[in-house]
C-alpha cells in the first residue's frame, strides 16, 4: 500500500473515530470447526512460556502455568502438547485445513520451543513432538497467503487502518480500541488507556516485578519444605504460599491475553468481509504442506539448494496472493490502479492473421494518467483467462492517452479474448511458476554437472612456492584448503 493511501486511511479513521477497512474481501477463509487459540504469558527477555491458554477459540481454554519458568520443568506444556498434536492429526485426517489463532509474541515463543526441545535428548518424547509441531507452525506462518496460523494483530492490520500510527497498531489492545470502540469513549481515548497495559504476552510491569520477588521466596519455601517439613512454609499476608500467588497472577494474566485474542477474532468477523475466492486455493496449498510436513520431522532449509527452492516458493506464493488480491478485491485493485499497476483500457483493435490461432495482437487504448507499463511487461486481463506481453507503448497524441500493443500468450480464441470495443482491466500480476524453470535447471545440472559441484578437489599447494592469491575468491578458497580442479 502506498504511503499516501495509508496516510489518508489513517486520517479518515481519525476523523470518524473508528478503523477504516482497506480491503473489500477477507484474506482469511472461514474458521474450520474447532479452530484452536493459543495465548501465552512469557518471561520478558527469556521468551520462556510462564502461562499458556489453549483451547477451541470459540470455547473455554485450558490454562496451565509454571510458577518458575526458569527451571527445566516442562509439565505446564503438556496440555499444549496433547491438544496441538490431537488437533493437527484430527484436522489432517478429516481433510480440513487446521487453524490456529494466536499473537505475534506467542508465535515467537512457540518457535523458540522448537529450537529448545526439538532435538533435546533430556526431555520426553511428547515435548519433542510438541517442539516439532511448533517448528512446523512457525515455518508455515512464513508462507504468504497461508491459512493455518492467524496472527491476530497482523491479520487486523492487513484489513484495516486506524487513526493512530502504524507503530501503535502493533499493540493489539490499542488496535482493537479502533475496531470496537466502547460507547461513551472516543477510540483515541480508549486506545491511550489500553496502551498503558502491555499486550504482547507480557504481564504488567509491577506484576512482573512482584512475581520476580515471589519466585525467590517460593524457592526458599520449597527448599525449607524439602529439607524439613511442608508445614514450615511461610505464607503470604493473604494466607497463600508464594507459589500459589504466582500461579494466580499468571492465570489472570494469560486469561487477559486470551480475552484479547477472542476479541480480535470477534472484531475481525465483525468487519463482515466476504471471503476472497482465492482463499479456497490457498487453503488447499496450506493443507497439502501441513499434511506432508506433519508426517516428516524435517529441519528448516539451511543448505543453498534447499534455501533457493524455499525462496522461490515464497516468491511464487507472493505473486499468487497478489494476483488473487487484484483479481478478487476491488479495494486492492483500486490501490494498484492508483499506483499504475492496474489500468482500464478499451480494445480498439485485434490483429490475428489466422482466426483462433497465435499470433494475436490486441491494441488497447487507455486514458489512465499513471501507467507502469513498459515493453516486455506481462499483463493479464482481469476477469478473463487472457494474458500476454507488451510489445509497444505509445502516445496517441491526445493528452493523457496511450496505446498499448499486447501480444497474447494465452486466450487467443475468439470466445476467450475480449471483443473489439470492450473495456477491460489489465494488471501486471501474471503468475510465473519459477518452480518449473527451477526443475529444468536441476535436470540440466544432473546431465552436465558444473565442475564445482563434482567436489573433486586437489590438496592445497604447500610450502613457500605456493602462489599468492590475487583474487578474493581464490584467497578464500586457499583459506578453506579447497582448490577446484
Amino acid at each position: 500500500m502506498s504511503a499516501m493511501i495509508d496516510a489518508v486511511g489513517r486520517l479518515l479513521a481519525w476523523q470518524q473515530g473508528s478503523a477504516v477497512p482497506i480491503r473489500a474481501t477477507s484474506a482469511l477463509s472461514e474458521d474450520p470447526e474447532g479452530a484452536l487459540g493459543i495465548a501465552v504469558v512469557r518471561l520478558a527477555g527469556e521468551e520462556r512460556i510462564q502461562a499458556i491458554a489453549v483451547g477451541p477459540i470459540t470455547g473455554e481454554p485450558t490454562i496451565s502455568v509454571s510458577w518458575n519458568a526458569l527451571d527445566r520443568n516442562t509439565r505446564h506444556l503438556d496440555a499444549l502438547a496433547r491438544t496441538l498434536d490431537r488437533y493437527l492429526r484430527y484436522s489432517i485426517a478429516s481433510g480440513q485445513v487446521p487453524r490456529l489463532w494466536t499473537g505475534a509474541a506467542a508465535l515467537k515463543c512457540l518457535e523458540l520451543l522448537a529450537y529448545r526441545y526439538r532435538r533435546n535428548p533430556n526431555t520426553n518424547g511428547r515435548i519433542r513432538r510438541l517442539a516439532a509441531l511448533c517448528g512446523l507452525l512457525a515455518h508455515e506462518a512464513c508462507y504468504p497467503g497461508q491459512q493455518v496460523v492467524v496472527v491476530a494483530e497482523d491479520l487486523l492490520r492487513a484489513h484495516v487502518v486506524t487513526g493512530q500510527s502504524a507503530d501503535e497498531d502493533q499493540h493489539l489492545g490499542t488496535l482493537l480500541a479502533w475496531l470496537s470502540p466502547s460507547p461513551g469513549t472516543s477510540a483515541l481515548e480508549e486506545a491511550n488507556r489500553r496502551a498503558l497495559q502491555p499486550a504482547s504476552g507480557l504481564l504488567e510491569r509491577l506484576v512482573d516485578n512482584r512475581i520476580e520477588r515471589l519466585r525467590v521466596s517460593a524457592k526458599r519455601q520449597l527448599r525449607g519444605g524439602a529439607t524439613k517439613s511442608r508445614r514450615r512454609i511461610r505464607v503470604q499476608p493473604a494466607g497463600k504460599p508464594s507459589r500459589e500467588v504466582i500461579e494466580d497472577l499468571l492465570r489472570e494474566g494469560v486469561r487477559r491475553e486470551w480475552d484479547l485474542l477472542v476479541e480480535a477474532r470477534r472484531a475481525f468477523r465483525g468487519l463482515r468481509l466476504p471471503v476472497s475466492p482465492g482463499t479456497k486455493f490457498l487453503d488447499r496449498l496450506s493443507f497439502d504442506r501441513m499434511s506432508y510436513e506433519l508426517g516428516e520431522d524435517r529441519s528448516l532449509p539451511s543448505r543453498p539448494h534447499a534455501l533457493s527452492r524455499y525462496i522461490s516458493e515464497l516468491e511464487h506464493l507472493l505473486a499468487l496472493v497478489e494476483g488473487f488480491d487484484v483479481r478478487y478485491d476491488r479495494c486492492v485493485r483500486e490501490r494498484k490502479r492508483a499506483e499504475g499497476r492496474v489500468f482500464m483500457a478499451e480494445v480498439v483493435g485485434v490483429v490475428q492473421p489466422r482466426p483462433n490461432r497465435k499470433p494475436c495482437m490486441l491494441l488497447l487504448r487507455t486514458e489512465q494518467e499513471i501507467l507502469r507499463v513498459r515493453e516486455g511487461t506481462r499483463l493479464q486481463v482481469l476477469d478473463a483467462r487472457v494474458d500476454g506481453r507488451v510489445t509497444v507503448v505509445r502516445s496517441t497524441g491526445q493528452p493523457g492517452e496511450a496505446l498499448v500493443e499486447l501480444e497474447l500468450k494465452r486466450g487467443v480464441r475468439e470466445r476467450d479474448r475480449p471483443p473489439l470495443g470492450a473495456r477491460v482491466d489489465l494488471a501486471d500480476t501474471v503468475l510465473l511458476d519459477t518452480m518449473v524453470r527451477q526443475r529444468q535447471v536441476y535436470r540440466e545440472m544432473r546431465i552436465a554437472p558444473p565442475t564445482l559441484l563434482e567436489r573433486k578437489l586437489t590438496p592445497p599447494p604447500s610450502g613457500a612456492d605456493a602462489p599468492v592469491a590475487a583474487d578474493l575468491l581464490d584467497f578464500l578458497d586457499d583459506l578453506r584448503g579447497m582448490t577446484p580442479q
Binding site: A7, L11, S165, D167, A338
Partner: protein, 357 residues
C-alpha cells in the same frame, strides 16, 4: 530509560530534531523525574523490568565466569575462534577488580588503566587480548565529558601489513538471536551504543596516535534460544550509526548553547524553559523518553500523530482538520495545499471513500 551517559547520546541520535530531549540529555536530567515535575505521577510503565535486568546480569556473569585450572574466561571461548586466538592463551584485563573509594574515583582509576593499555599498544608492548568493562571518556561539549563503558574491548590483530593491532568495542546483549536474526529495535539500540563507544575509543586513541587504527566497527555477542549460551560474535560496520551519533553530539553542543542563551533571560530550572524548546514527536518517542505522551498530546491536532510515514507525505505540522477540509472540497490556500489536494483525493478514491477524479 535513563538519559545519562551513553544512553542519552543514543536517544538524541534517534530523534535529533527534538530540542527538549537534547536539553534534558545536555543537563543530564532524568526524563521520568522531569515528567513528574511537569505533569505529576507517570501513568504508565517505565523502565526495565526486574526479569530483564536479572537475565542481562546473569548473561554477563556467565560470560565473565572463569573456568578450569587456568581460570580461562568463558567469553574467551566465544571470542577466540572468531578473532584467531587460542582461548586458553588469551590475556584478560578485568577492570572490575579496580575499585576506588567512590564511583568517580573508580571510573578515574579504570580510565587511567585503560589508557596505560593503549599506550602499551602504541609502544608495541604486549597487551591484554580482552579488557573487561574498560573505561573510556567522550567529550560531548566543552566542559562536558562523559564516561563510556563498553562491555569489553577486544584486540584485533592486523591481517595485512599496513593494518596494525587495535581494540574493538564489544557489546554483550542477552536478547535472543534466532536464525541469525535479533529483534530489530534491540539491535538498533545496541549498534548505536557501540557507535558511541567507537567514538569514545577514537578520542582516546587520538591521545596516543592510534587514531588511524580505529575502525567504525564493533562486535556483538547475543544469546541463543538455548538459555544463556552465547552466539559467536557478530562483527558489524557502524558507519551509519557513527554518523548519526556524531550528529547527536553536534545537536547536544547546540542544545547547550541554546540553553545558555535562554538562561540569560530566564535563569530558572529546565521546566521553566520547556515552552521555548521545540519538540519533535515521532514514532520512536514512546521507546525513548517518558515525555512521549505529553508531546503526543501537544502534536494531537497535527499529522505527526498518525505516524512517521503519514508525516512524511502529509507534513508533520499540517493540521488534521485542514486535511479533512481539503478532502471535503475546500479550496487550497497555498501552493503546498494545491499540490497536496489532488493526491489526497486520489488516495481517498483508492480507498473507496470518494469517487475517482
Amino acid at each position: 530509560m535513563s538519559l545519562k551517559g551513553a544512553r542519552g547520546i543514543v536517544a538524541v541520535s534517534q530523534n535529533a530534531g527534538c530540542e527538549l530531549l537534547a536539553a534534558m540529555v545536555s543537563e543530564q536530567v532524568e526524563d521520568l523525574e522531569f515528567y513528574t515535575r511537569l505533569a505529576g505521577p507517570y501513568p504508565g510503565e517505565y523502565g526495565e523490568r526486574a526479569s530483564t535486568m536479572r537475565r542481562g546480569k546473569q548473561f554477563e556473569r556467565v560470560l565473565y565466569a572463569q573456568k578450569g585450572s587456568r581460570r580461562a574466561f568463558a567469553l574467551c571461548e566465544t571470542l577466540g575462534p572468531t578473532f584467531g586466538y587460542q582461548p586458553q592463551a588469551m590475556r584478560v584485563l578485568d577492570m572490575r577488580e579496580i575499585e576506588g573509594s567512590s564511583v568517580l574515583e573508580t571510573a578515574d582509576l579504570r580510565l587511567r588503566r585503560t589508557r596505560q593499555e593503549l599506550q602499551s599498544l602504541r609502544r608495541g608492548e604486549p597487551v591484554a587480548h580482552v579488557i573487561l568493562q574498560p573505561q573510556l571518556s567522550l567529550s560531548v561539549a566543552p566542559g562536558d565529558t562523559r564516561f563510556v563503558v563498553p562491555d569489553a574491548l577486544v584486540l584485533v590483530t592486523g591481517v595485512r601489513p599496513e593494518r596494525q593491532d587495535m581494540y574493538m568495542p564489544l557489546e554483550i546483549k542477552s536478547c535472543i538471536v534466532c536464525r541469525n536474526l535479533a529483534d530489530s529495535s534491540s539491535k538498533d539500540r545496541a549498534r548505536r551504543q557501540a557507535a558511541v563507544e567507537v567514538l569514545a575509543l577514537t578520542q582516546e586513541a587520538r591521545r596516543y596516535g592510534l587514531y588511524e587504527r580505529v575502525r567504525n566497527r564493533a562486535a556483538f555477542v547475543y544469546a541463543t534460544p538455548r538459555g544463556l549460551t552465547p552466539t559467536p560474535p557478530f562483527i558489524e560496520d557502524l558507519y551509519a550509526e557513527t554518523a548519526e551519533v556524531n550528529r547527536a553530539l553536534t545537536v547536544l553542543r547546540e542544545a547547550g548553547n541554546r540553553l545558555s542563551e535562554l538562561r540569560r533571560a530566564n535563569p530558572g530550572p529546565l521546566e521553566s524553559l520547556t515552552p521555548q524548546l521545540q519538540t519533535n514527536y515521532i514514532d520512536r518517542c514512546k521507546a525513548l523518553c517518558a515525555l512521549a505522551s505529553l508531546c503526543k498530546q501537544e502534536a494531537a491536532p497535527r499529522a505527526a500523530v498518525l505516524g512517521d510515514s503519514a508525516s512524511a507525505v502529509l507534513g508533520s505540522d499540517t493540521e488534521l482538520s485542514r486535511l479533512i477540509e481539503l478532502l471535503q472540497g475546500a479550496q487550497p490556500q497555498s501552493g503546498y495545499e494545491a499540490q497536496l489536494t489532488p493526491q489526497l483525493l486520489e488516495a481517498a478514491a483508492g480507498l473507496g471513500y470518494l469517487p475517482a477524479a
